[in-house]
């Protein structure tokens, strides 16, 4: 039987990603001087779990790193080694390396082997550091009382010795007492030998004379047989499994019940304490796991589609029964309105499946802020609020980049150096707040810093240099919007304290593409807030329906500024095939939709039809249509599932009558308007 192991990889990658994120979160929250044992255990467990999976799926490089990580963590959680910031830094670096290796296996991304090597070296150094300080130095502990131990004991990779202690025939009560006492030194197990004698296996950092000393309370050390060896590594030739002989298997449970030989019984042992706390720490995680199921996104999307369909059917029913006599059909109408409510609730519930907490995004920032502030020599207190606020999975993945940019900008350009802050009477540590909250059908995500604020004069100067239409009397809000102008801030001159807007046009474009908006509030010397407002889900869109000839198209409302009927005098031909229209003292290119889609329109004269002013990527244009039909929320459907991409169209939706309406790709339409000509851009 051959089984393709690669089919399990996806689950492993998902699992490992979650574990690594959790590990990082815990590491960042760790109080180095007094680490919480539960946290240490949870971090250890994450490394351990990844190692297990990696080994099974033969990702040897991941196994190696996690093994070193695990061994080191194990000693720290057992209290054998004190935690230092160097440990935390190294663990974080190891986490990054593991992420990178995972990406390599998952998506074929390149893996920086130097980084892997350096992390491994650091992990190794850290673990060797403690071996030198190990309490038991084998050579210094000759044990004359134990003749069998002729060779010097060898510590295993974790600095632990594996002793095998064969007892002479002694009463069970003595066996129990010894097990308890020896259990205090480390972890102990016992087995019953063929001649009914008992042998212990003790894993401990202590030396042999300690064992002898303890045993001498109960029996004559000369009767003991103590041997030592480190745990053998699993050799390739080994079968890797074993089945215990029946007789022993039967005898063992009895012995185990009689002898409290398990470490769990020795309450005073530090290792045991750590272990028990680990159980408590992970209990809640387990609770979460068993009460949730992992489902493919496509299944959820199918559910959303079906519910969308149901909502449309519901709308059709509502439309038809509206014509009925309310007295005659009172009961039918009541039932229908009940059904309508149920449908809405169902839709909401189904949509919520795709929702993920913002924490998914927020959790990556403490690390970034910490590293960045460290590099810049700044002090930043990072606060997140509303991490539990939920957002559609599709959007949450797309918000990461813009948000990363904004947070980076705040640390880099917003928050001042400690000296400067002190000079202006502020606390040395700047404050950076990342918050999320629901507002109506939107989620508002804000990045706030108490830094220097935007510099109005500087931005205006820069805008003038770039030939942007600005005046000194412009209101602040309009001045701040200038930093979103394409190319505005790419120049090096603004990357100092005041400028900050590196790549803000990209941020704005990404947010707009998600159907959202960006606003800035800033006050010189006090700070800046960048506020992003996004729809809760991509699956539903606020649309404006417009009609050209017989066709109805949907315009995403986010791009629409206004619609109006232009006066004939405001429409000008600028070339053989281009028209512009003057709207509020601004000439905008005119895009006749009928021309682009080769439709027979009602009107070709802009003064008879309606123009819709659209804005995307900082460019405005006027779209000529026959008429406006109305505004409505539409469920967005993918056109490409069964067909190909159609130029100028971003998707489709189903109307109340069951017909299909296409959603216009406004960004693409506007891009085409810049090169307006007979040239068939859409072909």
């Amino acid at each position: 039987m051959t089984i393709d192991m690669s089919q399990f990889y996806q689950v492993f990658f998902d699992e490992a990603d979650e574990l690594l994120a959790e590990m990082e979160k815990l590491l960042l929250a760790l109080d180095v001087s007094a680490p919480d044992n539960e946290d240490l255990n949870a971090i250890f467990r994450a490394a351990h779990s990844i190692k297990g999976g990696a080994a099974t799926f033969a990702f040897t490089d991941i196994t190696e790193v996690t093994h070193m990580l695990e061994s080191l963590l194990d000693r720290i959680r057992k209290g054998e080694m004190a935690l230092t910031t160097e440990h935390v830094d190294t663990f974080l670096a190891a986490k990054d390396v593991l992420n990178m290796q995972m990406e390599g296996h998952h998506h074929g991304a390149s893996v920086d082997q130097d980084a892997v090597g350096s992390v491994c070296a650091r992990l190794k150094q850290l673990s060797q550091g403690i071996v030198a300080d190990a309490p038991a130095v084998p050579a210094a502990a000759p044990a004359p009382a134990a003749p069998a131990a002729s060779s010097a004991p060898v510590a295993d990779a974790d600095g632990q010795f594996h002793f095998r202690i064969e007892l002479p025939e002694v009463p069970q009560r003595d066996v129990d007492a010894l097990a308890t006492e020896l259990g205090l030194l480390g972890s102990i197990t016992q087995e019953i030998l063929a001649d009914k004698r008992v042998a212990f296996t003790l894993i401990t950092g202590e030396g042999k004379d300690d064992i002898v000393a303890i045993c001498s309370f109960v029996l004559d050390p000369d009767d003991l047989k103590i041997t030592c060896g480190s745990a053998p590594a699993p050799a390739a030739a080994e079968p890797g499994y074993g089945i215990f002989e029946t007789e022993k298997a039967e005898a063992a449970p009895v012995a185990a019940a009689a002898a409290p030989a398990q470490p769990a019984a020795a309450a005073a042992a530090p290792a045991t304490e750590a272990k028990n706390m680990g159980r408590r720490a992970t209990d809640k995680e387990v609770g979460q796991e068993s009460s949730s199921i992992r489902v493919g996104v496509e299944k959820v999307d199918q559910l959303i589609n079906l519910v969308g369909e149901l909502v449309i059917t519901q709308a059709m029913i509502d439309q038809r029964i509206a014509a009925l006599d309310p007295i005659h059909h009172e009961r039918l109408l009541n039932s229908a309105s009940q059904l309508s409510r149920n449908t809405r609730d169902l839709q909401e519930a189904v949509m919520s499946i795709r929702m993920m907490p913002m924490d998914y995004v927020f959790s990556r920032f403490p690390r970034m802020v910490r590293d960045l502030a460290g590099k810049l020599g700044k002090q930043v207190e990072f606060v997140t609020r509303g991490a539990a606020t939920e957002l559609d999975k599709g959007l949450i993945e797309r918000i990461v980049d813009p948000l990363t940019h904004l947070v980076r900008n705040s640390v880099d350009h917003g928050i001042e150096m400690p000296e400067q802050r002190r000079a202006s009477g502020k606390k040395e540590a700047g404050r950076l707040i990342l918050s999320a909250a629901h507002q109506g059908g939107n989620i508002v995500i804000e990045v706030t810093d108490d830094g220097g604020g935007l510099n109005r004069e500087r931005i205006l100067d820069k805008a003038k240099q770039q030939g942007l239409p600005v005046t000194d009397s412009m209101p602040d809000a309009e001045v701040w919007q200038l930093i979103f102008a394409p190319g505005f801030s790419t120049a090096a001159v603004v990357t100092d304290v005041s400028g900050r807007g590196v790549g803000m046009d990209v941020v704005k474009r990404n947010i707009t593409a998600m159907g959202g908006t960006v606003d800035i509030r800033s006050m010189t010397g006090v700070g800046t807030t960048i506020s992003i407002s996004l729809p809760l889900t991509l699956a539903i869109l606020d649309g404006m329906s417009v009609k050209v000839g017989e066709e109805v198209y949907i315009l995403p409302l986010g791009y629409v500024i206004e619609s109006l009927q232009p006066a004939a005098v405001d429409v000008k031909e600028i070339a053989a095939d281009g028209q512009v229209v003057k709207v509020r003292e601004e000439y905008l290119p005119l895009i006749p939709l009928h021309q682009i889609f080769a439709i027979e329109p009602l009107y070709t004269d802009p003064a008879k039809g309606i123009i819709v002013i659209l804005e995307s990527e900082g460019k405005k244009a006027a779209l000529l249509v026959d008429s406006l039909v109305g505004q409505q929320q539409v469920v967005v459907k993918n056109l490409e599932s069964n067909f190909r991409k159609v130029a100028g169209i971003s998707g489709a939706t189903i109307l109340g009558d069951g017909g299909v309406s296409l959603i216009l790709d406004v960004a693409a339409l506007l891009r085409s308007s810049r090169q307006l000509s007979n040239d068939p851009i859409f072909s």
Binding site: N305, L306, G308, E309, I312, E551, I596, F597, A598, I599, K637, N638, L639, E640, S641, N642, F643, R644, K645, V646, A647, G648, I649, A652, I654, G658, G659, V660, S661, L662, P680, F682, S683
Partner: protein, 167 residues
Amino acid sequence: MTNTTHMNHGSKDAGDGAGDEYLAFTLGREEYGIDILRVQEIRGYEPVTRIANAPDFIKGVVNLRGTIIPVVDMRIKFRLGQPTYDEFTVVIVLNIAGRVVGMVVDSVSDVMTLSPDQVRPAPEVGTVFDTEFLIGLGALGERMLILVDIDRLMSSSDMGLIEKFAA
């Protein structure tokens, strides 16, 4: 990976020997057959939403229980007279490798089972389809069925239904 109809054909013969089932339909004066396993359902023609700048035989898209599917009219594609759309116009809904597409034909006749010995090689000429899209000729008594490799046809660049060929 490329599990074409040819291969399915062969493997099923090896299985029960009962032959393959084909959906028979007419286009112009000829009768055609396609693998019944590719047919999801047969529907009447509903008004479509036009796709701008698409070839004329791509009628547009319709809503099939919440999914948007393209509809192609084979009568236009193969220039078989003036197409009419009325209550008798039939759309064969195909499912080809997970993609759903509606295909308008003149009429659908029935489902026929053809054993391998009833299938002869395709003629070089005489059908509207290119030979590369044909499996063979099915003979059943007086009737002659032109067997079409619908997978290959629908994913061909000629049809322009799939992205990579559309560019």
